[in-house]
Symmetry: C2
Subunit: 689 residues, 2 copies
Amino acid sequence: MPVFQETAHSSRDLRVRRSRARPLPRLSMQPEISRSNGHDGDEKYEVVVIGAGPAGLFLTLLLARYGLSNSLACFDKKPGTLKAGQADGLQPRTLEVFSTLGLHHEILDEGCHMSEVAFWNPSSTKKGIERTAFVPDVVVPARYKHEVTIHQGRIERILEEDFHAYSPDRSIFRSTGFVGFTLDASTDPEFPVRIEIDVLGDERTSPQRKIVRAKHLIGADGAHSKVRRSMGLQLHGDTTDHIWGVVDFVIDTNFPDIRKRCAIHSDTGSVMVIPRERIASGHYLTRLYVQIKDVIPAAEEGETLDEKARSSKRRAAITLESILEQGKRVFAPYNIAIKSGTDIDWWAAYQIGQRMTHKSTLKDENGVERVFLVGDACHTHSPKAGQGMNVSMMDSYNLAWKLAHTLHGLSPEPQKANKASESNTPTTVLNTFEHERLTVARQLIEFDSKFSSMFSGQIGAEKSVEGLTHDEFLKVFSDGSGFTSGCGVEYAPSIIVDQVSDPETIAHVDAISFVKKDAYLSGVLRPGRRLLDTIVRRYADANLRHLHDDFLSTGRYRILVFTTDDLVDRQKVTTHKAETSISAQALETICREIIPAYPRDTIELVVLHPFHTRDFEWDQMPDCLKDFAEMTFHGPTGPESFYEIYGVLESRGAVVAIRPDGYVGVVKSLADAKSLGDYFDNCLVRVDV
Amino acid sequence: MPVFQETAHSSRDLRVRRSRARPLPRLSMQPEISRSNGHDGDEKYEVVVIGAGPAGLFLTLLLARYGLSNSLACFDKKPGTLKAGQADGLQPRTLEVFSTLGLHHEILDEGCHMSEVAFWNPSSTKKGIERTAFVPDVVVPARYKHEVTIHQGRIERILEEDFHAYSPDRSIFRSTGFVGFTLDASTDPEFPVRIEIDVLGDERTSPQRKIVRAKHLIGADGAHSKVRRSMGLQLHGDTTDHIWGVVDFVIDTNFPDIRKRCAIHSDTGSVMVIPRERIASGHYLTRLYVQIKDVIPAAEEGETLDEKARSSKRRAAITLESILEQGKRVFAPYNIAIKSGTDIDWWAAYQIGQRMTHKSTLKDENGVERVFLVGDACHTHSPKAGQGMNVSMMDSYNLAWKLAHTLHGLSPEPQKANKASESNTPTTVLNTFEHERLTVARQLIEFDSKFSSMFSGQIGAEKSVEGLTHDEFLKVFSDGSGFTSGCGVEYAPSIIVDQVSDPETIAHVDAISFVKKDAYLSGVLRPGRRLLDTIVRRYADANLRHLHDDFLSTGRYRILVFTTDDLVDRQKVTTHKAETSISAQALETICREIIPAYPRDTIELVVLHPFHTRDFEWDQMPDCLKDFAEMTFHGPTGPESFYEIYGVLESRGAVVAIRPDGYVGVVKSLADAKSLGDYFDNCLVRVDV
């Protein structure tokens, strides 16, 4: 029978609480933040975010986690979170990012996993449609091999709930509208962005206009962004002629694939089926995208000038009933109906369009970006490829750490010579945001344009201009997997993405001669692409772990070392022979010269080894390995080499710098470990060792 | 550009919230519950739980989830949750149960996974200890192949947080001590348990005595249980001579296996290493159990009567320093020390003891159990096998659904003849609690006695009485895996566990002749044992799923059908030939005759198929399959047969009733599906169809 004699010690209650990410170190002065009744009248925040949709909330959450929780405000004109409709799909890459923040569990548990896509086409033998293929939904390697659908409002709630663990104050202000901003460094050079907001009252009181000041303003306020308009920017691009209706409801059907994502092309039009999560009633939701045809007569030839007006008219004529009727025609010979006893959850009609701004930042007179656009505020797509919410949140993911590093004084100042230059070449870490994300937006808009036309086109129909054979359609679908999964993003070279990589170093012998984009999509290391997850076995405790779990989104850089088999000195124990091992030398360089040269706790070390046996001990390896990477030192889980996945030769190894967002910065040979310093000099300020 | 036309509908905000388990249906009258100022003066609750440790909180949470949230109170005399020390290990079975409640994520993410055990023994070639083997921590099949260690207070916080999602009121009352109870049916036959509590004030106010009344009282108030004493029960058994110290701290050591569970036997004593979770400082905790020797001189021969007193004295002489000093001797030639800059987290000394009560319930004059004991209140073990917190919570897990079914009027009344009988044979579902859990407690105490002696004994030492060779030790360790994993529990036959199973039905051909306990531990179906988890592929959406995810702990029974390959009628589509298929017949019987005979929403259907191809359609199978089990119909994920794991022949199939706690109730042949009614008549009241 236990008779305990307990001792009491401090910091114990931390054992009980939910874990929190530790904030980034701060070298810059903590600003003196004044709230509503500050001495000079204006509220001040380091960052003000306009819009509490997925992009705005995600940015706010990330900044709070990185350490800005006390000087952060997010304003949204709506009184609460979204209740129905809009976006519903999360890509594999978004799920990967969410898992580095611990935000994935509810989404994976409760969301609908789309493992497969079923393709349906006009039957060659009978009336109506028939299934022509099952295809995996995600064909690229990824931590999660499926997309997840779940209501956008729920994702917003998850983000906001997590945010509250980091911000003791109330920092998300709803019923607060953005009016406009000016850059005004003269009256307050530290907080040069002067923002007008309207605090909306209830029906009985009128809005109250207020001024808040910020170092940086972010417009996450959607397709009709007022921040964008205040910047003097416009969305450019076209709204096409394709009209689609979208309905979320509990379906009653004998269509056999209703729980799978389906691309249905019938002789009477197209439908996309998006299976959705189970709702509180116990039913499963279904989303249908229904192509709308011939609501009003098609235009005569030459009537092109009126096309947009005509489409708008057509759209206005669309009703829930007409969408469902058209759906029924496409599904024939199968029946669809609203499940008896249930209501339609949400419906809408829209025209497919791809539009974007040509800039997404506004610089002050010193060339410092003061205003940023993320999400729909700077690019809108069709919902077909399931991109919208994902790309928007990834904008925020790209911006947040750069902004936090800048505000915390961790990023180096630009070279004097480049400072005032209007060139597009990034000279600071913060500069790279627009450089990287506008390129992604452009690529995605091109892809989406192709992809959504394809869905609107009539497959196999000879007359259709956009006509594609079923095989062509499948090919576009597979080729697009890099985009649709979010895993194919590749950031262009810049100060934080190395331009030239030595193929001798990074590529597997077989791959050197023909490293194709496919190989990079499969995991071969390439600056600008995300580090692929694999399962590894940790040396210290023999646990199987996801490599990504050592690359959590805490705002830190990591050095990933692929050691060679000379890491273990079989003769060692008494004689120190570290100087003969190239792996040991690289580790010594990294631990003694690279990591300590930058602010404490900004670069972490992860080390991989190629040994399939376990008959080696800590004291056969350099001391710094255990000191710096005791719990982040891993090997393979089975007989296959996992170095191969990354295009690294076991006989040569590699050192890799990984950015805080999980993208590869630079790949170097073990012998060249010292040159990591050249890379980090672009990313982080040096400190006195 | 989307131009949405939204419609508004009710119940939409449910889409945003975290999902909640739906409560059990209730056939009995909802009692009129009065709180503090009720008309007759006493607070009333259907269930009162004393003690808010893991057992009490888990019980309270389960009852709230099952639907009793408004008539439930939990009292604890302490002002808050535990801050350090005590239990720290969760077994694979406990993790399985937690995952059926969605309570596993934080524990798996933040806890320490013990994948392996390292055995260390006196070196044969040099001074000090050497590693003799690595052994997997868990050798039985289970959803999680490892134990997890994490601070008990954190588990309590997780349970309490989840509880608050189900109980809008404050139902966990701290600083409230239990005084005593009486059974008093005369003044209030519906709430016969009269409970005296002391509401403790702060230092300035004196406790306030109060009476609360309940239908049932549960003592989850630990080894010193006052509820147990009020029942007139005692713990019986022995406190042995073995003394151990336990310390939680951040260790600084060159011992190579410090992140693994270790059993160290040196010439100077034994130590168990339990690796622990990472704490907020970034360090990893370590727990050491250190065997204490010769603190005061051993007893002379014949001095047996004074043994306990002697041990207590010895225990009192133990200090943190003496524990660490002894630890250092055992670890030699390796060094251990408290990590510089950190404090010891917690330490204690205890004597190993195995004690239990001979009863765990108290019946009223009608033979209805009114008072129950769970956890340490009725059995205490050594911490060596990591049992304590697990067995305690599993007591609550066993009790909660039986109590909820009884209070909701779902369980049938006992046969008149047996009602007043004092026999130990259970005649109601509620009766089976004591029957099942006291047996488990007895078995575990026997096992723990053997297991912990073994740890205290000197391995390989010829003189030691308990001396075991290293191989003998390893054997006990492996044989004990059923106990230590929690997966080997087998409930004895009763009205809810079928006694005789037809081996022809359940066992695989090869297994029929010699189905050993091992086979059951490996998953072969056996009434009284838990259903093993496997990965299956859902037919409707091709998702890979854990079978356990269809057996969530919502208090429902399930019928699990292993169909044969005649389920699919290859000729069908136009002609209905269901009457020729034994699988289809069994499904029809279950869906038309069994499930509707009992209260709505108390029995769910899960169906498995043996097909490795996917070329069959819903319309080739009986309609009731899609109606009752569209999203719970699964097949194998690869070429191997998964029926084999369960000992079911693909050519014969089986129907299985699974209890709400995941244990097999009865296994029948497909042809005998109708006889499931005999089983469910013991479990649930019949309703008019």
